[in-house]
Symmetry: C2
Subunit: 369 residues, 2 copies
């Protein structure tokens, strides 16, 4: 293998694919990044066997070939190079690559490329096409509700309910739930449900370009494949049945408020300070045009008052302050609407007037004082 590339292109490509490198993996070769020459380009690939990422960068290929180099050494070395052409060279008889820049060179020992897991990035199914900015926004707005507990795998995933021209992205950890409805650029009906690991979609939003760039989603056996620009990401799907979340969405409400998102978020964060760290419960008293947030612990007492528009019955309801804060932080609108059915039924939060996004938050049962 023999090629010339630039520090900039290599840095960008390595930064993308190294997100799939797991330092904890017992298989040493998986701490590596596979370099494969193409036609006027270089394929960089990494995998932790859960996800695989490929990034194609421009390169002047002098002699084709492939090699696997430890991510830790090659990524850091490239970052530290001067802004000069970077010349890579390796031969069939060694597993090391000579990296030349200016008058200097570094040899990094690696692994034979044929010991690296084979990963296909060729899709089998029809593509769904999303706009990058919209897709990223949807993932950001629901992923706070993804569970971190690996003991219940289904809850660590994001449900994609693919229907006619739109898809529902749903996440829940059983304490809260969020759903975002996203259109896609196609009008055929699919009717398929996928559960994609939350981690996969988070990584995807970090590596793909912003704005009007397109993201193509397709299936490949029991895996899901995303393509966007010069980047591909493949991931396992999560087996199992996602809970039938529609049952818990309240259809009615006894009390409704509209409030400045920032006011409520800041008051919640201040109240959380004084709340117990392991169980940061705060009480909301909703009456007339004021929401009071109250907490009383050994650290002190909080009495926050936030102005709101209110319709319906007065109500007292308690929430985990961190969960309320998580939901408010991604509302993305000046005003938030909250609907309550009672002190023990889930509250509905949505950006004022929005129909494509809402979240549910289960209250905490508290003792009457």
């Amino acid at each position: 293998m023999n090629f010339v590339s630039t520090k900039e292109d290599l840095t960008l490509g390595l930064q993308v694919v190294q997100r799939a490198v797991s330092s904890k993996n017992p298989l040493p070769i998986l701490a590596g990044i596979k370099f494969t020459t193409g036609t006027g380009c270089l394929d960089l690939t990494a995998t932790d066997l859960e996800i695989g990422i490929r990034c194609i960068i421009p390169a002047e290929i002098i002699e084709p070939g492939e090699i696997v180099l430890p991510s830790r050494y090659i990524t850091e070395l490239i970052k530290k190079l001067p802004a000069l052409p970077v010349h890579f060279q390796s031969d069939h008889f060694s597993t090391g690559a000579v990296i030349k820049y200016g008058q200097s060179e570094t040899i990094i020992n690696g692994f034979p490329a044929d010991e690296f897991p084979q990963i296909s990035f060729e899709s089998e199914s029809q593509d769904l096409i999303f706009t990058s900015a919209a897709f990223k926004d949807a993932v950001r707005k629901i992923s706070y509700a993804v569970s971190q507990e690996e003991t219940r795998p289904v809850y660590t995933g994001i449900l994609m309910e693919i229907g006619s021209g739109e898809v529902n992205l749903v996440a829940t950890d059983t304490y809260r739930m969020a759903r975002f409805t996203l259109p896609f650029d196609e009008d055929s009906c699919h009717d398929i449900n996928l559960i994609i690991p939350g981690k996969t979609l988070n990584e995807l939003t970090k590596i793909i370009a912003d704005g009007e760039t397109k993201i193509h989603l397709s299936l490949l056996g029991n895996q899901v494949l995303f393509k966007s620009g010069n980047i591909c990401l493949i991931s396992r799907l999560i087996d199992g049945n996602f809970p039938s979340y529609r049952k818990v969405i309240p259809t009615d409400c006894v009390s409704r408020v509209r409030i400045k998102t920032r006011d409520l978020l800041e008051a919640t964060d201040r109240a959380a300070l004084i709340a117990r760290e392991n169980a940061p419960v705060i009480k909301l008293h909703i009456d007339q045009k004021i929401i009071s947030i109250k907490v009383s612990t050994e650290a002190g007492r909080v009495d926050e008052k936030v102005m709101a528009s209110h319709e319906g019955e007065p109500l007292q309801v308690a929430f985990n302050a961190r969960y309320l804060s998580d939901a408010l932080r991604v509302i993305g609108a000046e005003d938030v609407e909250m609907e309550f059915t009672g002190p023990l039924s889930p509250a509905v939060l949505r950006p004022a007037g929005a129909v494509n996004y809402f979240s549910l938050l289960l209250p905490v049962r508290i003792q009457e004082e």
Copy 2:
């Protein structure tokens, strides 16, 4: 106690004094910040019994008084407040303070102020006066050589050799040493040596203003007191004799190079990548106009070449890459001069042409290949 202040003033003051708060201290009151009303101002004080910091901020005093509030709660609360006047109130019968902002309030439980350690910030001796920017620069340029090992307290300190109109700041961990000579605004002779904890001077440089601001240094019993603007910092001194460092400064050299600081630093950092993590030894071959840096480990091999002006004998010398990198990072000049007396004698590094600053670096003994 009853006063009104602003979020901005309180935030600035609390950020300064909380650097003296130790979360690890077994005495709960030391996790607190003492609020004392003055005349049109508020004194904020914190201490971990090693250092004490006081910051005076403007405030409208309605009723004098004092209280100690847990740093963790008060600092975070103030940071999260809206930009409104902040009203503090506490009475003699409680150890809590009511903090009012807009329509809301938070009560933070605290401690009676008379249980807080008494700290005097009144100096007894004549002041030495430095310019802030110059003092900060001096501390930054030598503090990398301060030892982190608490078992040898003298090496965790910075020696201040105060003479006529100038002071030598010296740090060493026995593997490397750095000395900076700093003038002060006064011409009387002092002839006194102080060993100030490295941590103290680092904290000081973080809290005092930049530029032409003055720093006043004075003694208070076996403590040192710094004053700058509205900030005071008091610290214990370290007992013991600082090693007689002058003995190890080479007076002659067999080889001298002048080199672009950045070229050598970047080459050293790349070589350090491939070097062994626990003993990152790199070899420098100095001959003619080239310094070669070589490393060979199981991870790979490095051969960096850096152009230099060279006088004297060719030389091969090995260093700990991290130590060389630390010294080069603070040189603060385009070119660095290095002088060598032999492969086992300390090398001298200085910004090209500088007479007020140099550092020593002890080579590593290596086996001949």
